[in-house]
């Protein structure tokens, strides 16, 4: 019960950060994809199951508030959560270089995935439009990632959640 409450709080906190507060870190429409970074963090620290479930819920919420293809964000964030969870215990997640590399790769994969989904499922007005944000956001995410990882680790310490105890 305690764990479910914690995940619910995390779920709503993610939404608040992404859709409520990220605008305050935006520059000319470019803002970091906090959900993606947090998801990678959770995947690397807690494993696939938590990350993919949170990814699905966040993605679905994103689809609900956006006008993009319904289900596209849910699918991509679920995949990001699952794949980052596969790196759990395999990569040294405390290394800043690793955090940067994985975030950059996931950001690029996210946009590429979105492009593929539009290519497959997009009809009529649903067309993928290239813009500068697509090119710059992976770099922005890459820069923000170490800060989020650092903060996440501190929060895990505060709530006394150990990396080892979790599932895969």
């Amino acid at each position: 019960m305690k764990r479910i409450s914690g995940y619910l709080i995390l779920f709503f906190a993610g939404l608040v950060i992404q859709f409520g507060w990220s605008q305050y870190l935006s520059y000319k429409g470019l803002s970091p994809n906090f959900l993606l970074i947090i998801l990678i963090f959770i995947g690397m620290f807690r494993g696939s199951l938590t990350a993919q479930l949170l990814g699905f819920m966040w993605g679905l919420s994103w689809d609900v508030v956006s006008v993009d293809l319904f289900g596209s964000h849910a699918l991509l964030l679920t995949a990001v959560g699952f794949l980052s969870g596969k790196l759990n215990r395999k990569w040294d997640e405390d290394k800043v270089v690793n955090q940067i590399i994985i975030t950059f790769a996931a950001s690029v994969a996210f946009w590429f995935g979105l492009f593929c989904l539009y290519f497959i499922f997009g009809q009529g007005e649903y067309k993928f439009r290239l813009n500068s944000i697509i090119f710059f956001q992976p770099f922005y995410n890459m820069l923000v990632a170490p800060a989020i990882f650092w903060l996440g680790e501190r929060l895990l310490d505060i709530f006394d959640v150990r990396k080892e105890e979790e599932e895969y």
């Binding site: 319904f70 289900g71 699918l75 679920t78 969870g85 989904l117």
Partner: protein, 275 residues
């Protein structure tokens, strides 16, 4: 080891299931069921970002209010200091006034009467005679008499505007200093040289009858002279913009820009005699 393997499999099955759900949503996104689900989720999800935005906005308002409080506090300290200085000046003024009255009575000179300001609003102005006169909403019922000085305040400094030419019950007509009929004894604040300030029915004034040795220079402040019958001495009129001198004429004259902004007159003060 076996448990770990099972957990991996468990996780993989859930992943496949979630992928299937997402693909289903993508394929059937236009169906009524999916739209209904989307609407339902919308009502669950949307309040949290909105509340967060409101929280941030209220935080910003709070910080703005705190900044305002600090500014007001600093302003209050400054104003208290200024008030203390003015209280001292007021005391000094009354002492000098009493001394002046006593000395004037010893010298056998007339003692000037007390004057008080009456604040009036400008209610009329004719575009065809913009620089000639204005109408205000106070008349003899308020104690306004003909030839009472009319003063405006610019940047907390009283400046000469005109004099009352006609006074009705509840309104009066003010002849502006820029009116061609207006002539006002004025002097340079720096040299005390007297001249006659004449209106020109335009945005400038002419300070006439200045001596040829040019003791007045461009940029000098011109104030009302003690010779003025209407205005108290030392009221700002304007600044010298230009000086003209003809070799055949015994006097030179200066063009003065009035200190009062004649295009934005709203409230004026009329100084009336206290009975």
């Amino acid at each position: 080891m076996e448990e770990e393997f099972l957990s991996h499999r468990h996780s993989n099955y859930i992943f496949i299931f979630l992928l299937a759900v997402c693909t289903l949503l993508l394929s059937a996104r236009l169906s009524s069921y999916v739209r209904g689900l989307k609407d339902l989720l919308f009502y669950v999800v949307i309040p949290s970002p909105q509340s967060a935005a409101r929280f941030i906005q209220s935080g910003q308002k709070l910080s703005e209010n705190l900044t305002q409080i600090v500014k007001v506090h600093q302003e209050n300290i400054e104003l208290k200091k200024t008030l203390g200085r003015y209280a001292f000046l007021e005391n000094e003024y009354y002492n000098l006034k009493r001394e002046n009255t006593r000395l004037r009575s010893i010298a056998g000179l007339d003692i000037p009467g007390e004057k008080k300001p009456v604040i009036a609003q400008v209610i009329g102005r004719e575009p065809s005679s913009w620089y000639q006169w204005i109408v205000i909403n106070k008349g003899f019922k308020d104690g306004i008499t003909i030839d009472a000085p009319v003063i405006s305040v610019v940047n907390n400094v009283p400046v000469a505007l005109g004099r009352i030419s006609e006074s009705g019950v509840n309104s009066s007509k003010v002849v502006l200093i820029t009116n061609i009929l207006s002539a006002l004894p004025a002097m340079s604040r720096t040299t005390n040289e007297d001249g006659l300030m004449e209106g020109q029915n335009s945005g400038t004034l002419k300070l006439n009858y200045l001596s040829r040795n040019l003791s007045v220079s461009i940029g000098d402040e011109i104030v009302t002279s003690p010779l003025s019958y209407v205005f108290p001495s030392g009221v700002l009129v304007g600044k010298v913009e230009d000086i003209y001198q003809h070799k055949d004429e015994p006097y030179s004259y200066a063009i003065v820009k009035p200190a009062v902004n004649l295009n934005s007159l709203r409230e004026v003060s009329v100084y009336i005699q206290v009975k």
